[in-house]
């Protein structure tokens, strides 16, 4: 196709477009809807007597909750910023969620190291895999809603955007799980809460091209 012909075709196809909403507006929408969707089942679980109980006021619990919240919010912001060409430049966009996740992992690993005896039972203590399933289940609506908002823009880097979207979803799932989980042991949280978040982020990187990007075949 000659460029001249292409320009004529594109001009003929130029209809009025709805401008993508700003990153902050979309982030506010994501936070509001995700908070409601996540709070309902979590609240119901807490009312049924599940949850951390008195340990909810412990420094470790609050610190971990704050970290997962930071990961979720900063990753969601990064995903939405990456969906607008030219907005991905600020250095803060991508490193903050990754560094926060690394701090969370480091904290958990340091806690595991200080435990005098670690046996197989320590890693597999209940609710074990049920927590991983809960992280995944809680991350799905948050991830789907964020992916929808990201697709409102036009991410040029599908993998980066996919990782950030999935990381935000996974961290939301981990936060919801943390609020209903009765096991506060560091090995349990490391294996059944933090590692699933990593797995979800890795899956987001692999599937980013399919779910997030809206590039047409022709443009590729």
């Amino acid at each position: 196709v000659k460029t001249e012909l292409l320009i004529r075709q594109l001009v003929a196809d130029a209809r009025p477009t709805r401008v993508t909403r700003p990153v902050r507006t979309r982030l506010a929408w994501w936070v509001a809807v995700t908070a409601v969707v996540t709070a309902v089942p979590v609240g119901a679980s807490i009312l049924r007597g599940k949850g951390p109980g008195d340990s909810a006021l412990a420094t470790g619990f609050l610190g971990e909750a704050a970290l997962t919240l930071i990961i979720a919010l900063s990753a969601a912001f990064a995903a939405l910023a990456l969906s607008v060409p030219g907005r991905e430049r600020p250095l803060i966009t991508v490193p903050v969620p990754i560094v926060s996740y690394a701090v969370w992992l480091g904290w958990l690993v340091a806690s595991v190291i200080t435990i005098p005896v670690v046996t197989a039972g320590t890693w597999l203590a209940p609710p074990a895999a049920r927590c991983a399933a809960h992280v995944l289940a809680a991350s799905l609506p948050a991830g789907a809603w964020l992916a929808w908002l990201v697709r409102e823009g036009a991410p040029l880097g599908a993998r980066r955007t996919g990782v950030m979207t999935a990381l935000a979803a996974g961290a939301t799932g981990a936060l919801a799980t943390q609020l209903t989980c009765v096991n506060r042991a560091a090995p349990h949280i490391l294996v059944w809460h933090a590692v699933p978040v990593f797995a979800i982020a890795a899956a987001g990187m692999l599937m980013g091209g399919l779910l997030i990007t809206c590039r047409s075949r022709r443009a590729r």
């Binding site: 196709v1 460029t3 292409l6 320009i7 594109l10 001009v11 003929a12 196809d13 130029a14 209809r15 009025p16 477009t17 709805r18 401008v19 993508t20 700003p22 969906s83 607008v84 060409p85 030219g86 907005r87 991905e88 430049r89 823009g153 036009a154 040029l156 880097g157 809206c214 590039r215 047409s216 022709r218 443009a219 590729r220």
Partner: protein
């Protein structure tokens, strides 16, 4: 990167804002200006890029597809150059991938006319099959086993209870007969 002057950037931003509202004249102007910028960008990277016009078209298509993401309150340059850099990186990646599998030739090495005439000299499959059918039974079986079933001369000799040398001679005579039948000249 060929930088935009602030005045030109403002003018292009205004054109894009009008294009978002459906103004086709403004959009036509904008695409032509952007095509010029991409060409200037590609010219500085001519060594990295084999087909600059492909990059121009790729960028214009992307601009068309993502034009809704431009915020008129913001400068145009970061938005446009992010698209340009991304498409340039894609083009280089595509080119590298292609270069890994394709053999680059210059014009003189590949003569379409001679390659067509050489293809025409090759007999068709049905002609070869007919020539094979006309061979004596032993020669036909030897050639079929050698060429289609990949058996060794020794295996064929064992099957036919012949000496290996005799199998080779029979195969050679069979090839000769097929060549004569198809009118193919023997390679010297």
């Amino acid at each position: 990167v060929a930088r935009l002057t602030p005045e030109k950037e403002r003018a292009l931003g205004d054109l894009l804002r009008r294009a978002q509202l459906g103004d086709q004249e403004a959009y036509d102007c904008l695409l032509r200006e952007l095509a010029g910028l991409v060409r200037a960008f590609a010219a500085r990277r001519s060594r990295a890029l084999l087909s600059p016009e492909d990059l121009v078209q790729d960028v214009l298509l992307t601009v068309h597809r993502v034009r809704r993401t431009y915020d008129p309150a913001r400068p145009l340059a970061p938005w446009f150059y992010a698209i340009l850099q991304s498409r340039f990186a894609d083009a280089c990646r595509r080119q590298r991938r292609r270069a890994r599998w394709e053999i680059q030739t210059d014009g003189s090495a590949f003569d379409l006319r001679s390659s067509i005439s050489s293809a025409a000299r090759h007999p068709r499959a049905d002609e070869v099959a007919a020539a094979l059918r006309d061979l004596p039974r032993v020669q036909r079986r030897i050639i079929r086993w050698l060429k289609l079933e990949d058996l060794s001369v020794r295996e064929i000799a064992k099957r036919l209870r012949m000496r290996e040398g005799a199998v080779k001679v029979a195969a050679h005579r069979g090839y000769e007969a097929i060549r004569r039948r198809l009118g193919v000249r023997q390679r010297s």
